[in-house]
């Protein structure tokens, strides 16, 4: 699997990212690093805890990272959740749960695509 194919799988825009970062190997490096990124798990925890402010911050960060890496699909759902959580309310709005599910779905898609890409790299051609 090439990295372009990986991007296709996760619903991302490789061409965009390639323009932004100095080299393909760097793109690859950061894509792999995404697997270690904590924002998604932080988001889930915050949502569980009912902490709106934290959830907002985590969603916001996830959105930013997705934007940087060109993960358009994840960017969209994370963005939607971010906007919903932006309003400074005491508790998490009810609609947030549904949006969270979308984020979870897109996140899983993204991560599995990256993992598949990694595995295909390890396999001898």
């Amino acid at each position: 699997m090439t990295i372009q194919e990986c991007y296709q799988k996760l619903g991302g825009e490789f061409a965009q990212v390639e323009k932004r970062l100095p080299s393909v190997s760097l793109v690859r490096k950061f894509v792999i690093k995404f697997l270690d990124d904590a924002s998604f798990s932080e988001l889930c925890h915050a949502m569980q805890d009912g902490n709106r402010a934290e959830a907002f911050r985590a969603a916001h960060t996830l959105k930013g990272v997705s934007a940087n890496l060109g993960f358009s699909r994840l960017l969209t759902s994370a963005g939607a959740l971010t906007e919903l959580l932006r309003a400074e309310t005491e508790t998490i709005p009810e609609d947030a749960a549904a949006l969270l599910e979308e984020v979870k779905r897109d996140y899983e898609l993204t991560v599995s695509a990256i993992r598949a890409y990694l595995e295909s790299e390890d396999q001898p051609k």
Binding site: R20, P22, D36, A67
Partner: protein, 452 residues
């Protein structure tokens, strides 16, 4: 190898930090901090080397705005440019960032070329500002430099059309002597001390500049300046160094009435006023008025005319007879010089002798008068007027160097053709009692003698 400049990235997300770091590492040395608190720590150790800060707004443990507020409050840190990384959520973020004192913002997703360009130009801007700062302030005294002082005066006048101001120019009498005798270091220390005192005298209501060497300029509100003059001498005993106690300062004041005059000229006038009391005992202030300017113009006109006047023999020597009461007869004469100018008419020595002493024309004048006198003496002798033994008269400053009290006729070769002139005790008269070098003070004595 030129060291790369340091840039501090303050961002809590590791991935973002890595990406940013990667973008910048080609051109800069990257320092990282996870949140505002950490960033402050890093700044504490590296504040002199960090050229720019890239700041994420959303961070736990001191968010971006709180961090911004903190560094803007610190005198040194506030000078470091800050670029805030915003997410294109709308204008709010950006406006907030700028309102909190951020220098610029860059939206996410990161666009490497844009970031690099913005970082470079902000760093350059700050370096230029630092350089300009150097030109604005005089390095030795910390007061405004000349050009910047002029600029500040212009601004002040523009912003306060109703207020009355004046320019005060001060200089130290014989400052060169101080440098010569005590050395340049002492001279510099003296200047710093004077600058400090001047600044404290002016206070907040005006400002001061260092014009160069021993000259200082101040802008003061007119009322304040007048008050200062009244209170002069009654200042509380300040801790001044012995060196400062032994110098004399003069102040020239130009009261700004005509704002169409260029500031440089206003300062020149104040300087003129200060110079007009140079060497005068117990005179420390002088206020510029039009007569000073007229005097200067007149002096220039005379200076321009002196050479041709000499060539055209416009200077006329008159002989004033002297009568001896003891002997009951004419005892001699005194040679006096007058300038008969074709246009200006008769000019008394008081108008030009001090000026010639000042500008060094006087020896030529001396020589001229000597010749005239000697020729006249020869004429008289040939004409049979007896007892024309000698007449000595000395034009101040024109004494031929030799022992004081005597002079060498031979110094003027032309004179040899005339009669021998000797200094004789009875008929002799010294008008200039002071040594040659002291031309300035000779002026007074000469006037007294020549005005008989």
């Amino acid at each position: 190898m030129v060291q790369k400049k340091h840039v501090l990235i303050v961002e809590d997300n590791e991935l973002n930090r890595a990406i940013l770091g990667e973008i910048l590492s080609s051109d800069y040395q990257v320092l990282e901090a996870e949140n505002g608190q950490e960033a402050l720590e890093v700044l504490r150790h590296h504040k002199d080397s960090i050229a720019l800060i890239l700041l994420d707004v959303m961070m736990p443990v001191m968010d971006g705005y709180a961090f911004l507020d903190r560094i803007k409050a610190d005198k040194e840190l506030s000078l470091i440019p800050v670029i805030v990384m915003t997410q294109s959520d709308g204008e709010e973020d950006e406006v907030s960032a700028l309102a909190h004192g951020a220098t610029d913002f860059v939206p996410k997703p990161y666009r490497p070329q844009v970031i690099l360009h913005r970082v470079a130009s902000l760093i350059k801007l700050r370096e230029t500002a630092a350089m300009v700062n150097q030109f604005q302030y005089d390095r030795l005294t910390g007061l405004y430099s000349k050009e910047f002082f002029y600029q500040k005066v212009r601004e002040q006048l523009l912003e306060n059309p109703e207020e009355d101001y004046c320019i005060v120019c001060s200089n130290i009498e014989n400052f060169k002597l101080v440098n010569d005798i005590f050395g340049q270091e002492a001279g510099d220390r003296l200047l710093k001390e004077v600058a400090g005192i001047t600044q404290s005298m002016v206070g907040d209501t005006g400002f001061c500049g260092h014009l160069g060497a021993d000259r200082f300029l101040c802008l003061q509100k007119r009322e304040q300046e007048r008050q200062d003059r009244l209170n002069f001498g009654s200042f509380p005993e300040q801790e001044v160094s012995p060196l400062l106690k032994s110098v004399v300062m003069r102040w020239g004041i130009y009261e700004i009435t005509d704002r169409s005059v260029p500031v440089e000229q206003m300062c020149d006038r104040a300087l003129l006023a200060a110079n007009s009391i140079k060497g005068q005992y117990n005179q420390f202030f002088a206020v510029y008025d039009e007569s000073l300017r007229d005097k200067l113009l007149r002096e220039q006109v005379i200076t321009d005319a002196m050479e041709p006047a000499l060539a055209e023999e416009q200077f006329v020597v008159y002989f004033q007879p002297k009568y001896s009461l003891n002997d009951d007869c004419m005892a001699g004469a005194e040679a006096l010089v007058r300038w008969d100018h074709p246009e200006w008419g008769f000019m008394s020595p008081g108008e030009f002798i001090p000026l010639f002493e000042k500008n060094g024309f006087i020896p030529r004048m001396d020589q001229y008068v000597w010749e005239k006198v000697c020729r006249q003496l020869r004429d008289w002798q040939e004409g049979g007027i007896s007892r024309c033994s000698g007449l000595c008269e000395c034009i101040p400053g024109g004494c031929v160097p030799g022992k004081s009290g005597g002079y060498v006729p031979g110094a003027y070769p032309k004179v040899r053709r005339g009669p021998r002139v000797s200094a004789s005790g009875d008929h002799g008269e010294r008008l200039c009692g002071k040594p040659r070098a002291d031309h300035q003070h000779g002026g007074g004595a000469a006037e007294a003698g020549l005005h008989h």
